[in-house]
């Protein structure tokens, strides 16, 4: 029987999104042989949202409470997870900035293999078989991981699969450890803004916008989509200082897999495609009918973005009203 441990993230005392997807990925492995899923949450006190974890598919919810865990504290998490790792067949984190920071540290501490940015996972005999993009998504690698591997799973890899059951909550102790790194705080640039890597809809702009002030055209469309859309950008406009690097999509930016991706005045360079080619639906608006972005787009409009965008924003507002 395979017990799987899923390490969840919290910020400011609230569970972060992506928990349901990570637990579903753990369930997928556990259910292969009637195993169980434990979800572990680290915090300085109560973490809101954990009562829903049973319904997401966690058999047990482990709460590790320590004053150092108000902010991300990798040393505390690694020490705690290492102390229980022997009970598990695999340890999962989300493939977020935090989860990817954590996974290799845990793997090295417990002497295990580590698979990052995994998009598919299954039990395969004595090992866990994972698939993951390599070469900026230009190829897909399949690995067999023996032992108790630590796997950082892309949120889009396995869809949430609620069970509606109630999980059991149990406290675990953070063992004594050496705090080598101190996270002093998190500054959120624009309060409430959805991160481009986590948005359902991404509206990305490129050099075709012509001027940083024209990002307003994209923000209007973001607003039309409501709370779960974000502005993305090509590297060309990030390097030009039109918008922060946090918005960059592509090989040297973020990898995104939203349900819907708009490329507005973006040519579709191979390094940009690396960051968004697994989006659900891709829409391109470009005045050059031969722009490479049209090769990956599901739907394209050839035309001047300054003419198309206002009409599109109005139409989306009407369609969603």
């Amino acid at each position: 029987m395979a017990a799987i441990l899923a390490i969840l993230e919290q910020r400011d005392g609230a569970l972060r999104k992506g928990a349901a997807e990570l637990i579903a990925a753990a369930r997928q492995l556990a259910d292969a042989d009637g195993g169980t899923v434990d979800a572990i949450v680290f915090g300085a006190g109560d973490v809101s949202g954990i009562d829903g974890l049973g319904g997401m598919g966690a058999d047990r919810v482990l709460t590790a409470t320590h004053a150092d865990c108000a902010h991300y504290c990798p040393d505390a998490i690694v020490a705690t997870v290492a102390s229980v790792a022997g009970d598990y067949r695999a340890i999962l984190t989300a493939a977020t900035a935090t989860g990817k920071d954590l996974a290799p540290r845990i793997a090295a501490r417990i002497g295990a293999a580590c698979g990052m940015d995994v998009t598919g996972l299954a039990m395969q005999g004595g090992a866990i078989r994972v698939t993951r993009p390599v070469y900026a998504g230009k190829a897909i690698q399949t690995l067999d991981l023996a032992g108790t591997p630590v796997i950082a799973v892309r949120p889009s890899a396995v869809a949430a699969n609620p069970t509606g059951k109630a999980g059991v909550t149990q406290a675990v102790t953070v063992p004594s450890y050496t705090k080598r790194l101190t996270v002093s705080g998190v500054s959120t640039a624009d309060q409430g803004a959805v991160d481009v890597a986590e948005a359902r809809v991404v509206i990305a702009g490129g050099r075709g916008l012509g001027d940083p002030k024209h990002f307003a055209l994209l923000e209007d469309l973001v607003a039309a989509f409501g709370g779960d859309a974000a502005v993305g950008a090509s590297r060309a406009v990030v390097d030009a200082g039109w918008i922060g690097h946090g918005h960059q999509v592509g090989q040297t930016g973020k990898t995104v897999a939203p349900e819907l991706y708009f490329a507005i005045g973006v040519s579709g360079a191979i390094q940009h495609l690396a960051g968004m080619r697994t989006a659900g639906t891709i829409v391109a608006i470009n005045r050059d009918k031969d722009a490479p972005i049209f090769k990956v787009a599901d739907y394209g409009i050839v035309g001047d973005l300054f003419e198309v965008m206002p009409a599109l924003t109005e139409a989306v507002k009407r369609a969603r009203a």
Binding site: R16, A139, I140, D144, A146, T188, E198, V283, A315, R320
Partner: protein, 249 residues
Amino acid sequence: MKIAVCIRRVPDTTAKIAIGPSGTAIDPAGVKFVLNPYDEYAVEAALALKDAAGTGETVAVAFGDDSVQETLRTTLAMGIDRAMHLQGTPSIDGLANARVIAGALKDGGFDMILFGKLAVDDYAQQTGPMVAELLDLPCATAVTSLSVDGGTAKVEREIEGGTEAASCALPAVFTCDKGLNNPRLPSLKGIMAAKKKPLDITPVTVGDAQASLVGLAMPPERPAGRIVGEGAAAVPALIEALTSEAKVL
């Protein structure tokens, strides 16, 4: 300030990737190999930190076959003082490789060990934090800001929806992200000087691996899309497609 920079030789990011006949590796024919782009940020950070400290040594380290010597020379041309070639065949298991690198750096007396955030070939994203763990050193990954004040380092890293600030004592390990700095290009003078800088070769062997490579495949093609029309007049057709075909509105 004594700084090690671990570097990797990778296919140029614009290279077209084809799978070789083995089904487990790319076909290297016609592919140009370069210094991993994220390692450029690490090299630049090392050079700048040594300059700021006024004294010290920067050492580039690469584990791989003899081809990595060319990439090590690139870092010497950028200004790195000397190079270490760990000569051998890296494993598919990142931890096995990290053990080799950690072993080579363990007694080097480094104040800082720098890595790239990721290698643009294997996207393993693990070598740096694993080496830190194996050497029992503090570590921050994907830093976009790094400053040193006495024996303490302050860093920033981007996380979803914000920026995380952290600090730790030196010696420490950092992996470098875009935004940290603007890497310099090798100068002609640097290229000439690089030829005379020391490049030491140490044969190494990797230990047991717990990861094994099953195969490498091309990603599934996206189904062909279509142009729904031209200009603002095409908006209704797009909305219709997003509503009834893609069902995403």
